[in-house]
Amino acid sequence: MTADLILTPNMDRPDDIYADLLAAHEGLSKDDSDALNARLILILMNHIGQRSVLAQALAAARAPTGS
């Protein structure tokens, strides 16, 4: 069974989590922020693990309006 990507609200405290993301980037140069984002994506990709879910995530990210 392949899991579906969750595209409905799923974060327990969305405002706090979003603020955490911005805080992690605070004071970083553009290059350092880009590097942090890349590390973050890789860490989350590993956590998700399944190629099929990641493929859905990549598709959703490429076409944010849905298709």
Binding site: D34, A35, A38, R39, I41, L42, I43, N46
Partner: protein, 539 residues
């Protein structure tokens, strides 16, 4: 001092063919005495098929070329009768270290699986590899095998006449003509035969240059593969250090795209680069220095009626992953037995098309792997560099990122999934690694090894199963190799060939690949599998 690459190994001598009134006929003419052509010739000739090798040159190849030879290649060399000198001379290594910037981010151990006769890899200069093949060719020639090597013979024209091929050959004493049933074109990446036939060789050129140096030094670097991303001594680029026999070290330094090759190759520019890498106090001398641009490409088809391409002439890969010569040896391993059966009239010519299907599949796998390595080593965009560097940073602290680091996925033999020669897998609970199409994994059987008992012919391998000692189907003789799980106390035989099944019967091809497997001896099914594996029955 005479170095091995300076000694003519098969100097030109006049052949009776040059004085023949009508062109002499040969069964198989192999063009090119590189590793691939030599392996093809030995394979055919030691099985009684006449093989004539012509090469415009008369020496082993010179310059920095292959150094990493994979286990599968040594196993093939064992079948050809020359695995042992390769391993005796070669340097064995298991540890790899990865550096990023000024620090080591991690190391890995290839951890070779137990129960194999041969190591995962050896490092050996290509000229030694070729030298041992030439020696083996001479040995079987002296014992009466129909093999001949002609140096100073340059093929200048080939024409496929449908039922034979005409070849024009130029020599120091002028041209002559011969005919052949088949030609194997092992004439390298620049294949003149491919050009003569107007055939395409398409793919990707990587916009990058690499300085490849073989240096002789007394250094106490360990016998490990060291790979640097973005090191202080070669900022923004990569570097590789690898040990070869005789105190020779291979160094690869990435240089980037916009460089002056002639300038970079000058010793006064090379030496400071190497000193920056090795340290000021290391004494070394240069054996070879070259600058390479790498590409990944292949021919659309490897078989063109009676002209069959093998090795670099058919496909070319970047060297990260050591898939060039290693995959070329798999080509001839695949081709020789098929050509033999066709020439002996025991299999239809269509069997040769399976060479095309299987080895194109292998080439695609190799090209995919080496393109990915090259893309990791030389990121193609700003964002791919950001991700590459993120992987390297993470790999220092987190194990999950290490499998993403790609400085070359070292050559593994191809599994011929979907080959027309395979029968459907009838051993559902068997291990995936020995499904039809797979190369047989080795197993230690007391003091002997399984692979030494397989090869050159079809074998019926039975594990805990009854079967007749031999059978013949459609002109193909099959001999049984009877084993039980007790033959290997370590359990590797059961793990590699039984999985959860209590017993198994394998039909194994002359190239040690699995053609079919069953839970027990089912005569009709096995006869059908033999016909299918020899192209006598297509579905």
């Amino acid at each position: 001092m005479n170095k091995i690459f300076e000694v003519p190994l098969y100097p030109y001598t006049r052949s009776a063919d040059q004085d023949a009134v009508t062109p002499a006929h040969h069964r198989v003419v192999i063009v090119g005495a590189g590793p691939v052509g030599l392996a093809a010739a030995i394979d055919l000739a030691q099985q009684g098929i006449e093989a004539l090798v012509v090469d415009e040159n008369d020496k082993v190849s010179f310059g920095s070329r292959a150094i990493c030879f994979a286990k599968r290649t040594i196993e093939i060399a064992d079948r050809l009768g020359c695995g042992t000198p390769l391993v005796d001379k070669g340097v064995q290594w298991n540890i790899g270290k990865v550096f990023f910037d000024d620090r080591k981010v991690y190391d890995f151990n290839l951890l070779p699986e137990d129960g194999h006769k041969r190591p995962a890899f050896i490092n050996l200069q290509q000229y030694y590899f070729e030298d041992y093949l030439v020696k083996r060719a001479r040995e079987i020639e002296a014992a009466g095998a129909p093999l001949e090597l002609r140096g100073g013979n340059k093929v200048t024209a080939v024409s496929d006449r449908g039922d034979h091929v005409d070849l024009q050959i130029d020599t120091p004493e002028g041209p002559y003509t011969i005919t052949a049933d088949y030609i194997i074109a092992c004439d390298g990446a620049a294949s003149p035969i491919r050009s003569m036939m107007g055939l395409d060789f398409v793919g990707r050129v990587f916009e990058d240059n690499f300085l490849i140096a073989d240096v002789i030094m007394e250094a106490d670097f360990p016998t490990e593969r060291w790979f640097w991303f973005d090191p202080p001594f070669n900022k923004g680029q990569s570097a590789l250090l690898h040990k070869q026999p005789d105190g020779v070290w291979r160094i690869d330094l990435q240089l980037g795209w916009d460089i002056d090759k002639a300038e970079e190759k000058k010793p006064e520019n090379v030496i400071p680069r190497l000193k920056a890498m090795l340290g000021d106090d290391v004494e070394f001398s240069l054996e070879w220095v070259s600058i390479y641009t790498f590409q990944c490409r292949r021919m659309e088809r490897f078989r063109h009626n009676r002209v069959i391409f093998a090795g670099d002439s058919a496909h070319q890969v970047s060297p990260f992953g050591a898939r060039g010569a290693n995959s070329g040896l798999q080509d001839t391993d695949n081709l020789a037995w098929k050509l033999k059966l066709v020439l002996e009239g025991r299999a239809p010519e269509a069997l040769l098309d399976s060479y095309d299907a299987e080895r194109v599949h292998g080439a695609d796998e190799n090209i995919l792997n080496s393109s990915r390595s090259t893309d990791f080593i030389t990121p193609k965009s700003a964002i791919s560099r950001i991700f590459r560097d993120a992987v390297l940073d993470l790999s220092e602290h987190h194990a999950f990122a290490r499998p993403l680091v790609n400085s070359g996925r070292l050559s593994m033999p191809c599994t011929y999934d979907g080959s027309p020669l395979n029968s459907p897998d009838a051993l559902a609970s068997g291990p995936a690694r020995t499904r039809p199409g797979s190369p047989c994994p080795d197993v230690a059987l007391g003091n002997a090894f399984l692979l030494d008992g397989l090869g050159d012919r079809f074998t019926l391998l039975t594990v805990n199963a009854e079967a007749p000692d031999s059978l013949t189907e459609g002109g193909i003789d099959v001999a049984r190799l009877a084993l039980t799980s007790k033959d290997d106390a370590t359990g590797a035989l059961a793990a590699r060939y039984l999985g959860d099944a209590p017993a198994a019967v394998y039909l194994i091809r002359p190239d040690q690949h699995v053609a079919a497997r069953f839970p027990d001896y089912d005569e009709d099914a096995i006869r059908a599998a033999i016909r299918r594996a020899t192209g006598q029955e297509m579905h």
